[in-house]
């Protein structure tokens, strides 16, 4: 019978907290940048200009057809090398955090763009007509009238996607970057207590994500009124 031994966790808490801060930072940057780029992609996708719409559709389909872990590996293996060569930086320069943020933002943008596309289409055509009839340019109509409503209609879905993204940041461990999951893994390996550390990490993810989902449910109720 396996004997649980949780004693290595209290001492590791400061290190795990560092990891959690990194996970949250990657999530925050990826959510913000992914939503902005995703919204741009959604607008391009719905544009009557065929090349723009084709570009956005191809982008979304590319990123939705490739596993996230592959995208992360490209970014960890290829992009830092490229940057070093381009900028003539020393080999010591560490781009892993920036690479992770960019990779998540580009990947999640594909998902956010699908949510925002549905959101834009949920706003009636008459709203755009009314905005144009008041003399707004098509860009003003989109920014001032259509997008705020699309964003509001899709807020619960956007937040749910952010929660999924937070869980997905655990994949960063493939770069041996010590975000929360990676930190737990390192400690567990060091002390020979992998099972305990992974159970603890799972519990933390569960508590945070289910609490956040609960908040989204409350919000959904409010928005629906």
């Amino acid at each position: 019978m396996y004997e649980f031994d949780w004693s290595s966790i209290p001492g590791a808490l400061p290190f795990l907290w560092q990891g959690m801060k990194l996970s949250l930072a990657i999530t925050a940057v990826a959510v913000a940048a992914g939503m902005v780029w995703g919204t741009v992609l959604a607008v391009l996708r719905l544009s009557p200009v065929a090349p723009l719409s084709f570009f956005a559709a191809s982008y979304v389909s590319l990123f939705r057809s490739v596993p996230l872990v592959m995208v992360l590996l490209w970014f960890f293996l290829i992009v830092p090398q490229l940057l070093r060569d381009l900028l003539h930086l020393s080999h010591a320069a560490d781009f892993r955090v920036a690479s992770a943020m960019v990779a998540f933002a580009l990947f999640e943008a594909a998902y956010y763009s699908e949510i925002m596309r549905a959101g834009i289409q949920s706003v009636s055509k008459g709203q755009r007509s009314a905005a144009l009839a008041l003399g707004m340019t098509p860009l003003q109509a989109m920014l001032l009238v259509v997008l705020p409503q699309a964003f509001r209609n899709m807020l619960p879905l956007l937040l749910t996607q952010a929660i999924i993204l937070f869980q997905d940041t655990s994949l960063v461990y493939v770069s041996t970057l010590a975000e929360f999951f990676g930190a737990a893994y390192l400690v567990g390996n060091r002390d020979g207590r992998l099972v305990e550390l992974l159970l603890f990490a799972s519990a933390v993810y569960f508590v945070l994500c289910s609490a956040a989902s609960g908040l989204v449910r409350v919000l959904r109720g409010r928005v629906a009124v």
Partner: protein, 242 residues
């Protein structure tokens, strides 16, 4: 002020407008009526360029709507439009609905825009609702706000696209009252409506459309007393006999 000359438009094989022509003078009130699907709404949406058309010309205050290079946003800011389903912006308060285009399109200062908006809300009797959201108002109130929103840009003419068709019967009059007052103040108006009482009292001319054509274009009294075409006579007997 508005001249519509030989306008044609089709959706694929279906001709929505075929050879429509009419003139609207300054201060004139024109009611456009006819059976549904006759192209009335499409015609007035061509006037501010919300619908493109293939042939013919529409000139509003000396500016050709369909011409290449026409600054459509600038033109539309001078032509008010009221929609069947109000189309107030639900994510903004009533007052913000009235100020947004003043600020973002006409570049008026915030204070000036608010003052104008409050004066117009007063005029349509809704000043106390300024800080509510459109969803909290009745249909009739929303349509009055929509009229005020258009007027906030000081338009040279107003287009109404079935402004009372989506309203409960008891709310129709409050909207028509606002429109009558506007007409009496000398606003140039093109109104697509089935409200024949309004047409009789306020309109200078009636344009009757059927199957994408203007089949009758006559002074109001003449149109009601002796419609020239069978189609108009049929239409009138159907909508007046109840």
């Amino acid at each position: 002020m508005i001249s519509i000359r030989d306008v044609h438009k089709s959706y694929g094989d279906f001709k929505v407008l075929s050879g429509c022509s009419t003139e609207v003078g300054k201060g004139e009130v024109i009611v456009v009526c006819g059976p549904s699907g006759s192209g009335k709404s499409t015609l007035i949406k061509c006037v501010n360029g919300l619908e493109p058309f293939e042939r013919g010309e529409i000139v509003v205050d000396g500016i050709s709507v369909g011409a290449r290079g026409t600054n459509l946003p600038k033109l539309r800011a001078r032509v008010g439009m009221v929609f069947q389903h109000f189309e107030l912006f639900p994510h903004m308060t009533v007052i913000d609905n009235l100020t947004i285009a003043q600020e973002k399109v006409l570049r008026r200062r915030r204070e000036e825009a608010r003052k104008k908006a409050l004066a117009l809300l007063d005029r349509v009797g809704l000043r106390e609702h300024a800080d509510k959201h459109p969803g909290q108002l009745s249909g009739g109130q929303q349509q009055r706000v929509a009229i005020a929103r258009s007027l906030a840009l000081d338009p040279i003419c107003m287009l109404f696209d079935e402004p009372t068709s989506a309203l409960d019967p008891e709310m129709i009059n409050e909207v028509l009252d606002v429109m009558v007052a506007l007409a009496r103040d000398g606003m140039t108006m093109i109104v697509v409506t089935h409200e024949m009482g309004f047409a009789r009292n306020v309109a200078h001319r009636i344009v009757f459309m059927d199957q994408g054509r203007i089949v009758e274009d006559a002074p109001t009294a003449e149109f009601f007393a002796s419609p020239r075409t069978d189609r108009a006579r049929q239409f009138l007997s159907k909508i007046l006999h109840h």
